[in-house]
Symmetry: C2
Subunit: 211 residues, 2 copies
């Protein structure tokens, strides 16, 4: 399990398993689930984290609105039922990426606690890392990078999280990043990377293995 | 583009792109779409191909009934509409895996030509490789590894491809593997690997790049 990357790569009977792919990659497969209000900085931190991990040779992928809402979930809207189905499918796709041995990051508001907990249950223990990207509504509304809060206040967008739809913060996330207090995306991303290091995700096996 | 694996890994402005991930992986991202009757050998060849590629350090993943029908597509049945939605979602997930820089293999009957062609259109040119796993119905019915043909003949399964639902063979697949003629899975998988080699998929760039 501690063999160097791309050496002594033999698969077990029955085909290639997650553990084999982790050995090839030199790190664990894990889902980093970023949750928080629109404008809190989920996507920015995820992509910044990806850059740092890439420089270290870690295999990553970011699922976000850009590649999911226009693709897999193009048939879904923003009703509570559709939001739930949206998160269910993203969770199932994240599970496949974890099985493929990647560090997959998801950057969606994912406002309902129950939906996020279902994804946690879907994944093996230690493979779901919930990261609460915290920022007060005023901060998010000031940033308003896509002008969505303005539209929501004008009533042009219905059921907008924080304005006309609820956001349920995580009760015991693995990590909390408050972007009202610390606005530097690289510093925030470094906290994610350090979490991964300290919990053994950045090696294929060993004593700190999350299992 | 010809830098060795895991060296000189720098990302471009704007974040990590498919090309960056391909440089890290040392090969292209591509979808190998296996199609054919139940029992034709799609899944067997896909997993055999995965073993050979794994030994060469290629990053792969197989999407098949085991990880899709009980997960992402658990809400779908076998009506023509649900089969279409099944393939649409698998196509969208395959697209994400290709973007992540992996060789993703899909092993589904995928009986409708139109559904497969839509997946081809979804992916960039050269990123969709259709592999027709051909076997006559008698051969598949003799093999009947899951006893499904028997159930279909007894009327216990409705709309079973080849018996009570149509199969539309590809008109111009990139590769045809006839498993009635050649039953050795490893030999058949080697044909897939040779195809990938000859068309430049197993290096991150260069003159044979499929773009």
């Amino acid at each position: 399990m501690t063999q160097p990357k791309s050496r002594n790569i033999f698969w077990h009977e029955g085909g290639i398993k997650k553990e084999d792919r982790e050995r090839l990659n030199g790190h664990k497969g894990v889902c980093l689930w970023f949750t928080g209000l629109s404008g809190s900085g989920k996507s920015t931190i995820a992509h910044e984290t990806e850059k740092i991990l890439y420089e270290r040779g870690v295999h990553t992928y970011v699922l976000d609105g850009d590649n999911i809402r226009h693709g897999l979930n193009r048939d879904l809207g923003f009703s509570p039922e559709d939001r739930t189905e949206n998160i269910r499918r993203i969770g199932e796709v994240a599970k496949l990426f974890v099985d493929a041995g990647l560090v997959v990051m998801t950057a969606f508001i994912s406002p309902y606690r129950r939906d996020r907990d279902r994804v946690r249950e879907l994944l093996e223990d230690g493979r779901f890392v919930e990261i609460y990207v915290e920022a007060d509504l005023e901060t998010c509304e000031e940033r308003d990078p896509k002008g969505l809060y303005k539209k929501a206040r004008a009533g042009e967008i219905k059921e907008f999280t924080g304005i006309s739809a609820p956001y349920e913060p995580p009760e015991s996330p693995e990590l909390v990043i408050n972007t009202s207090r610390e606005t530097d995306a690289r510093k925030n991303a470094m906290r994610v990377v350090r979490f991964l290091e300290e919990h053994g995700y950045l090696s294929a096996g060993g004593p700190n293995s999350p299992g």
